[in-house]
């Protein structure tokens, strides 16, 4: 009896073994996609392009060895595309073209062609969010022109387009939107979303063309309705509390020069208030900064002068935010700052009652900006002692 009991778990294991290796996928049988692009053709069909990493480059004799030269990885990808009536259809057609199993688990970058974005992101996003292998942490971009063109690039510095775009997004100089963020924005209270725009630098004779991030796409109700330039994008990022690092150059009055400040530890808080019919949003920006260059007459070891620079900085940041607010509120009417969520969190009942009217309310929201930027480290010297008159 006791023996039977000890044998029971072993016997119970057998059915599991019978299931066998049904879902085993050896690495050798995978087509690893590093980046994918989704375009909409003129006839409304969807073109899915994928960048597949080539694991066995032609002419390589490295065998099982890891590559010795770091650069030998370059240019070892191919771009394949397939069209279908929707993304899933295109994906299945793509699989038919490839001898190996298409593997989405390592896809770190998704690009939407501009036409696709303008037609609506709901369809491809539904496919991507439902798919079991796609990563919610992948970065999303809108490309100027078609996404396929971006995928076809092989940038000179990075291993692949995907790497280049990830690195640029992570520097926080532009927007950094993951699939999860995009999905949340699309279904969020405000109904508006933003995505960074990828442009292709034109090819010069010295170097190959490369992609870079410039500006952002404004998406409302799932459709791209317009774009903002670099400066407005920065303003949006300030309001969305996404500025992590940046260098700002200001010209204090009567100082005869520039002061460049490196912004660190920035934080933006949204403080909503509803007074009767007036919807007020107080934006409080705090930050600590380092002076990196000073070509003005100011002596930064004097607290009064520091105050002057701080004031100037605050004005600058406020101007950026005002620019973004103006565009978003008046031109696009798209709440890309997630004001709706802030109001909803503080006044759930009032917001719910007015949810249908949000498009009317948003352009009229009074935005008060309070900035408190401090210069924490003026640097090792006070005055610019290379200027003759200051010696």
């Amino acid at each position: 009896m006791k023996k039977a009991l000890t044998l029971a778990p072993v016997i119970l294991l057998f059915p599991l073994l019978a299931a066998g290796c049904w879902n085993a996928r050896e690495v050798n049988d995978l087509a690893i996609i590093t980046a994918a692009g989704i375009d909409r053709l003129e006839d409304g069909r969807i073109e899915l392009s994928v960048k597949i990493y080539l694991t066995s480059p032609i002419g390589s004799e490295s065998g099982g060895r890891m590559s010795d030269q770091p650069n030998s990885d370059k240019g070892t990808s191919v771009v394949l595309s397939a069209t279908g009536i929707n993304t899933a259809d295109a994906a299945s057609r793509l699989q038919k073209m490839i001898s190996r199993t298409v593997f989405w688990g390592q896809t770190e970058v998704y690009l939407f062609g501009e036409r696709m974005a303008r037609a609506g992101l709901e369809e491809p996003m539904e496919f991507l969010m439902r798919h079991y292998a796609s990563r919610e942490r992948s970065l999303m971009f809108v490309s100027e022109g078609t996404a396929k063109d971006v995928l076809l690039l092989s940038p000179p510095i990075d291993r692949s387009v995907a790497d280049a775009l990830i690195a640029m997004a992570e520097q926080q100089t532009g927007l950094n939107i993951t699939m999860k963020d995009l999905a949340q924005m699309l279904v969020g209270k405000s109904g508006a979303a933003v995505l960074p725009i990828v442009r292709i630098s034109t090819e010069t004779d010295r170097q190959a063309a490369y992609p870079f991030i410039e500006g952002m796409a404004v998406i409302k109700n799932g459709r791209m309705i317009g774009r903002m330039n670099e400066q407005a994008t920065r303003g949006v990022m300030w309001l969305r509390n996404e500025i992590k690092r940046s260098t700002v150059t200001v010209t204090p009055d009567d100082s005869g020069g520039y002061v460049s400040v490196h912004l660190l530890r920035n934080h933006t808080r949204l403080l909503p208030r509803i007074e009767g019919d007036r919807w007020i949003m107080t934006v409080r920006v705090t930050g600590q900064d380092d002076v990196v260059e000073n070509t003005s007459d100011l002596d930064l070891s004097v607290p009064k002068h520091i105050g002057k620079v701080e004031e100037e900085l605050e004005k600058f940041v406020e101007a950026r935010m005002r620019l973004a607010l103006e565009l978003a509120q008046q031109e696009f009417g798209a709440d890309v700052f997630r004001f709706a969520d802030a109001f909803w969190r503080k006044y759930p009942k009032i917001w719910t009652a007015n949810a249908d009217r949000w498009d009317e309310i948003f352009p009229k929201v009074e935005v008060r900006i309070e900035t408190d930027l401090r210069i924490a480290r003026p640097g090792l010297v006070g005055r610019n002692f290379f200027r003759r008159e200051q010696r």
Binding site: L16, A24, E26, V27, N28, Y53, T55, S56, G64, Q106
Partner: protein
């Protein structure tokens, strides 16, 4: 069977027992020139010159006739003399190397404690070396081993109970414990189990280990074996029982827990911060030594999305031309590694280096260049190898080495699900194990908070309660 009063009868019986034993010497003598007597001993096991000087010589002009066995004993100059009246005891004593004196007219024999054996010097045990701490190790002579422990615990509470096991080897066994610390019921249980053993010979502690274990089919050791007197005495003072066997430097400690097998004496000889850190390093690599190749196989065949992209691409490239599946690759390499280790362990040192060179070439560079295995796999095997060398006791390393293979197969067939299944089965078994009634995984399961300070970390000495509870 008792001894007879007639010398002749006794000698005949002894001669019959020791027929064709050229090394047994029967030396007849006349005590005081009148009483016939026979000195019986085994050549090479006794101190002959002392026997001559302190027994044979004084007895030559010994006490008068019929003065009694006691006066004959007093005539000799030997401190350790026993009187034996049973024939079997007598044979045992002679076999132990004690010369026996049979005197005509007495139904008892005098046994002199003049045994002498060739013995190894006390050396540092090679299997359990430490950087700091005592360098002495047990040797093959049990008497010396008991003395080594007695020298560490100078209290009369240290008790030694001896018995003999093995119908042909008649090996002396000693059970040691510290009175008032060790649970009397534990001592009784150990004695009971030892007495129940039916065995012909005991050449090593392993012979009795298998008899007295709680679960004889488990791959895990339920007794701790050590060659170090400091380890044995530390356990004695924790209330455990130490079993010594004559003829082997390895002693057994009972009861034992899983975590005790993962401790080294140096945990206690180093500062407690260091001891704790190293202990955790050991736990971590212990898990690696069991699961390392399995995790690799599972991730590479089932969960490729878990690998960071850059690493994945590099790995994909290095695996591209490998003819085997990851599972086969892992099994191949691990088997090769185990074979190399086994080959290296048995070889003389001079040839051993040849094995390591060939091994490094075969399972290292050459296998990769030939495209038979991938470079990451070799790394995994190497890391697992290092991890398994970190097991502080050889006896706990072996089951892990063994269990690695089934877990690897599970990983190859079911991915991480299989790995987890394997771990659950192993844990289940460990939780069911007991060593002399003590749960194997204690103090973690069943949870005993006081015990954790010597498991989760090595608490500073003033916080450690050295006594095991219960």
């Amino acid at each position: 069977m008792m001894l007879s009063e007639h010398l002749r009868e006794n000698v005949l019986r002894l001669e019959a027992a020791y027929s064709d034993c050229a090394d047994v010497i029967f030396h007849d003598m006349l005590i005081g020139g009148h009483t016939p007597a026979m000195l019986v001993y085994i050549e090479g096991l006794i101190r002959l010159d002392e026997l001559d000087r302190h027994v044979v010589e004084p007895l030559r002009d010994g006490p008068g006739p019929n003065s009694g066995l006691e006066s004959i004993r007093r005539q000799t100059a030997v401190a350790s003399v026993k009187t034996v009246d049973s024939f079997h005891r007598l044979v045992d004593e002679i076999a132990d190397g004690c010369p026996a004196l049979l005197v005509d007219g007495y139904n008892a024999a005098l046994v002199f404690g003049l045994s002498d054996r060739e013995q190894r010097a006390i050396e540092e045990p090679t299997a359990e070396s430490v950087l700091r701490g005592p360098r002495e190790g047990f040797i093959e002579t049990m008497r010396t081993n008991i003395a080594l422990l007695r020298r560490k615990i100078r209290s009369p509470k240290l008790k030694v109970v001896t018995l003999r096991l093995g119908s042909s080897s008649k090996t002396p066994i000693a059970v040691m414990y510290v009175e008032d610390i060790a649970d009397p019921s534990l001592v009784r249980e150990v004695m009971n189990r030892l007495e129940r053993i039916e065995i012909t010979d005991v050449l090593e502690t392993a012979y009795i280990e298998e008899w007295i274990e709680d679960n004889r089919y488990s791959p895990f050791p339920q007794l701790l074996s050590t060659e170090r007197p400091d380890v044995a005495s530390a356990y004695l003072l924790e209330g455990r029982v130490v079993i010594l066997v004559d003829g082997t430097p390895t002693v057994l400690v009972a009861p034992i827990t899983f975590f005790a097998l993962l401790q080294t004496p140096e945990d206690y000889y180093e500062r407690y911060v260091v001891g704790t850190a190293i202990r955790w390093l050991r736990y971590f690599f212990f898990a690696i030594s069991l699961l390392g190749p399995s995790l690799y196989v599972a991730v590479v065949t089932f969960h490729q999305e878990m690998i960071p992209t850059t690493l994945m691409l590099t790995m994909a490239r290095s695996r591209e031309q490998i003819p085997f599946t990851a599972l086969m690759e892992a099994v191949l390499m691990e088997t090769m590694f185990e074979a190399l280790r086994e080959a290296g362990a048995r070889l003389p040192k001079q040839i051993g280096s040849a094995v390591s060179i060939v091994g490094a070439l075969v399972i290292g560079q050459a296998a990769i260049s030939a495209g038979i295995v991938s470079a990451p796999m070799v790394m995994v095997v190497a890391i697992t190898g290092i991890a398994s060398f970190m097991a502080p006791r050889y006896t706990i390393g072996i089951p892990i080495r063994l269990l690695r293979f089934p877990v690897m197969f599970l990983a190859g067939m079911m991915g991480l699900l299989g790995v987890i299944l394997g771990v659950i089965v192993i844990l289940n078994h460990l939780l069911n194990l007991r060593s002399f009634g003590v749960p194997y995984m204690s103090p973690l399961a069943p949870l005993e908070k006081r015990g954790l300070k010597d498991v989760l970390w090595r608490a500073p000495r003033w916080m450690l309660n050295r006594r095991a509870k219960g």
